[in-house]
Symmetry: C2
Subunit: 253 residues, 2 copies
């Protein structure tokens, strides 16, 4: 598997305006499915976004889950572990914020950082990393068996487009807060990160990865939303019947 064989932009036969319009409709479809998920309280959805800095994880979750009921959808970002988190196994803090029945949780970065960063930076021995690959598969299998649908998206950005987007953070006053010198340091190790990602896609593919062309935000959202809808349609969601001792069935119409 070579990431360089995958495009970072697709050819769409629609205009930008048509794509934006379609995206709005797709979001509405997701909201309808989410209402049933939330009402039924039997299944849950976990959406994982991975990708290099500025690959548009924030914009993806905003565009795809636009207007969703915030009571049924939580977003979690994983930064450097706190001292307390680091004193547990690496999946502890992740498991803690997995979705309850009825909920959609979105991970902006995830447990995959716990392979990516130590492997590129070389601060964990190979056998520990190898074990983590296995633990990830076991962990995701366990969640799946317990009713959680997991969707894993890699936002595939070209190196040139990353530079453009990182420079926006330097040049636009309303983007300054997103700038970090550290992102430019990480960028120097681009090829090493791509190699570890390729290994992840091969070894942690029991729950499949979706490689999303991400050079354009609206097209990216379009592709992701369709995958989310397809997955949710397979979850067998429906509104539950009335549970009441006061009201007899003739009230139901």
């Amino acid at each position: 598997m070579k990431l360089s064989d995958h495009p970072t932009r697709l050819e769409f036969d629609k205009s930008r305006k048509e794509i934006k319009k379609e995206n709005k409709q797709l979001s509405k479809d997701i909201i309808e499915l989410q209402r049933k998920l939330y009402a039924q309280k039997e299944k849950s959805l976990l959406v994982i976004f991975q990708g290099v800095d500025a690959s548009g994880k924030d914009s993806a979750l905003r565009d795809v889950f636009r207007e969703i009921n915030p009571a049924g959808c939580h977003v979690f970002s994983f930064k450097k572990p706190t001292e307390k988190e680091a004193s547990h196994d690496f999946l502890w803090r992740v498991h803690h914020v997995c979705p309850a029945k009825g909920m959609i949780h979105i991970f902006n970065r995830s447990h995959y950082e716990d392979i990516l960063v130590p492997k590129v930076e070389g601060y964990l021995p190979d056998d520990v990393i190898d074990e983590r690959f296995e633990m990830m598969n076991d962990f995701e299998r366990m969640l799946t068996k317990n009713g959680t649908t997991i969707l894993k998206f890699y936002l595939h950005l070209s190196k040139d487009r990353q530079k453009e987007k990182l420079m926006k953070r330097v040049n636009r006053h309303d983007k300054h807060y997103k700038h970090s010198d550290g992102d430019w340091e990480v960028r120097k190790k681009w090829d090493q990160y791509m190699e570890v990602y390729e290994e992840i896609f091969e070894r942690c593919n029991e729950v499949p990865w979706h490689i999303i062309p991400s050079d354009d935000n609206k097209e990216k959202a379009n592709i992701i939303a369709k995958i989310v809808i397809e997955a949710m349609e397979q979850m067998d969601l429906s509104f539950p019947p009335l549970k009441s001792k006061l009201f007899t069935p003739e009230y139901e119409n």
Copy 2:
């Protein structure tokens, strides 16, 4: 203070269509303010919704915070305390989910239930309840002094309109999941709940309560959104400057 002196519906000089359109614009204004709050990471906003069953707490938060970046906004519902929560003081679980700097947290019900329910049901002695009133004031003062703007909304619903809305849950299959026989039991104690609410508004008014006419969902959202915007405009929010050792000021334009 008598709740019966407050209207559950206002006279609007706008059509329903105009109100809906204005609500969309108000939500966009809130998103712009939220972007600055999130970028600046100095202040936070805590929005508390209280009200009887079916007063539209869910719909309020959905309409007012429509399209907000879910990464910057979390909703918390407070149900009956778990065994672990009950083994702490009543503010422990509430404090735990107060907003970090940059965040908006919305409470669907709140610590006020810890006065309401025990007072109406009579399972706590008066002196314990009296202490809770004081603790609430102290707690909210502490949060305010630490940079959290607190907005407290009571969604004021008429008893007739509650019946209509509760009956929808019985009659519409996509609302069945919201039905609970218990809500009809609580409704029998309507007057007692109103009395305790009136006492709360008088005794816990250091952070003021907003009594929102709530018989109509769109009008309710309109009134709340304007209060949220006014409060956020007073928070002195702005995008922070570039923090970088790599990029010199001439890059900023």
